[in-house]
Symmetry: C2
DNA sequence: CAAAGCACTGCAACCGGTTGCAGTCTCTTC
DNA sequence: GAAGAGACTGCAACCGGTTGCAGTGCTTTG
């Protein structure tokens, strides 16, 4: 554990170096390095002896030294502007987990709002010589305010706008919305309304288009216009009242743009004495469990698979780092419908 | 931007090294290094010339090389088992942000459940030679299943149990609960109940004790026993019914162990036709805005200052890394009451 | 005028690994 | 028995910075 020849101040705990291992195993540094990395050829006995010594000494290779010579840091950067964490955290978890399995660590740059501080973080990552960069945000039609053009390292985008020629990963909002709507149709609903978030979000339009497409394929008409507004409970709550106050004709199902809106809708119905799912079926979007599961009844909703998105992005990034050719463009990964009790039918969860 | 003498394969973008800067500025590597770091003595003209060349070449010092010789990586590790992100994300944001200002980057290890994978991550951080470690979790009375004893690097604990002799940062649950209860008392409430989370959590007991203490100081008796159960809306919902079904005598305020419980309580009251805050005032705990603000009415609640916790922990860790003596023990940082509309009185937000 | 002092600058060692190439030893093969 | 092949092993250069110490030239002091 201690370097005998250390010249550093006593007190500071000193890790064993490969020279310590080599000396104690009676081999050269070269052989020690090869024994530990499984490269080169040597007698099995030598290799095992070196490995045993390394274990005895609690040796940890210094990845800075390794990185220096290999021109790789086995390190990635994750850049986000999502202070909220709703989207970033699952992505980060999926990324981090998949990377750990491959010996790669992830630098986190979270919660920076000002472009200046974000640029500062980016610079720090350049100096750390990260092998690649994952850029993620909180909406698919905005890009982080950082200049990545002259970066000279592979970059992938996750849940963020992807510039021309870039490589991006987003959920397939269109087909997810279509799937959610088809689920309602299969359960016999025919008058399906759509309450969703801000019309300035591309995601809102994609989901609306999916809703339209599913209806059209089944020869149904949308129930009224899509109701755009904030992605909040308050909007869902208000929109539900609007839908049931104004119309003589009432929907028998509502596809909501996210779980918070769905939650607001359900709350309004509770107050109006409208039964979910008997009178109206509801589908949410996001599978934010803290909402979806706590709603009464628990929400059937779309899971965007953000964890998987993070993982896929990480793997693609590793391929790029290793020089494998990767096709540019946006990948839309499939989403999953999580069936609970807000639509009736059989609930699997 | 390009090393003229590079021997590496063409195609790979090659950063300028300090040798490139030195050569182009017509000085030795030593002088270049000093010019860029602001150390040593030299003519102002030389220093400026070197700095200008560095800028022209878009030079980025290689922090692996620097770390190797300085025996510091300017890197921290963040270890957590909070897959949920409720506690970790604010802590991580506060930490990351404060560290960025000081030129230190943070490795994230998130979402690992199995001790084995967590240990793997810890090992990766050792190899990366992180200067220190922040360990955080999702409850203050549990420690992560990692062996940190023989690590030989400074460690701080945040929102986690802190072993003897360690340095920990947690919110001051007791005084926060006392403050919340006193807020209710000041508003004229006298019959204050307490609905909280699992009795196996230390936080639940500290908050209960704070509730008791505030009441006692004002010569009031607690309204019934504290109602322990899950930290969920469902529990708050059920407990509210129980409280108002069973008792002839009814509370005029409820201090809730977290915002989700408070939310459940408010929902139950909405259904029972009980007005908040007119009939019953409610205080939550956590200031999880997505809940606290969306509740009708918005919740007055305790903010634990997790971001600040992360920042303080990071600064303490830096001090330790720099060899400054730090007193061992647990620091309980003060919380803040966020006044909204669920208690009446004047709402500041 | 010599010696000391000071301001600049650079040589060379070092951090802890990896790896191309060469050397040594043993075993075949002709 | 000598040459060649093959299996191990190690020398030394290198990655890109930092830093102790020495050297140079100029100014100041006795």
């Amino acid at each position: 554990m201690v370097t005998e020849t250390s010249t550093r101040p006593a007190g500071a705990i000193q890790r064993a170096t490969i020279r310590d291992v080599a000396a104690r195993a009676g081999v050269s540094v070269t052989t020690a390095s090869r024994a530990l990395n499984g490269t080169g050829r040597m007698s099995e006995e030598t290799r095992l002896r070196v490995q045993q010594v390394a274990k005895d000494l609690d040796y940890r290779p210094n990845s800075m030294a390794r990185g220096l010579v290999q021109q790789r840091s086995f390190t990635l950067g994750l850049l986000t502007d999502d202070t909220y964490g709703r989207f970033t955290l699952p992505v980060a978890a999926g990324l981090s987990s998949a990377m750990t399995d491959r010996g790669v660590s992830v630098f986190l740059s979270a919660g920076e709002k000002e472009p200046k501080r974000m640029q500062l973080n980016l610079r720090a990552m350049e100096e750390k010589r990260v092998d690649g960069l994952v850029i993620t945000g909180k909406r698919i039609d905005r890009c982080l305010p950082v200049d990545v053009s002259s970066l000279g390292m592979p970059v992938v985008y996750v849940y963020s706008e992807c510039p021309d020629g870039g490589i991006g990963f987003v959920p397939d909002d269109f087909n997810a919305a279509k799937m959610a709507t088809e689920h309602l149709i299969k359960l016999g609903r025919r008058k399906i309304a759509h309450i969703t978030g801000m019309s300035t979000f591309k995601a809102a339009h994609l989901r609306k288009a999916g809703w339209h497409a599913a209806l059209e394929e089944h020869g149904l008409a949308p129930f009224g216009e899509a109701l755009f507004d904030n992605w909040t409970e308050a909007h869902g709550y208000a929109a539900a009242f609007q839908l049931f106050d104004a119309a003589a004709d009432r929907p028998d199902a509502i596809f909501c743009g996210n779980d918070q809106i769905a939650r607001g809708v359900v709350d309004a119905f509770a107050q109006l004495g409208i039964k979910v799912p008997d009178d109206v079926a509801i589908v949410g979007f996001d599978n934010w469990e803290v909402f979806a599961k706590a709603t009464r009844p628990p929400l059937t909703t779309v899971d965007m698979g953000l964890t998987c998105l993070g993982k896929s992005a990480g793997l693609a990034l590793l391929d790029m780092i290793e020089g494998k050719p990767i096709e540019a463009g946006l990948r839309q990964l499939p989403c999953r419908l999580v069936v609970r009790q807000s639509c009736g039918g059989e609930a699997s969860e």
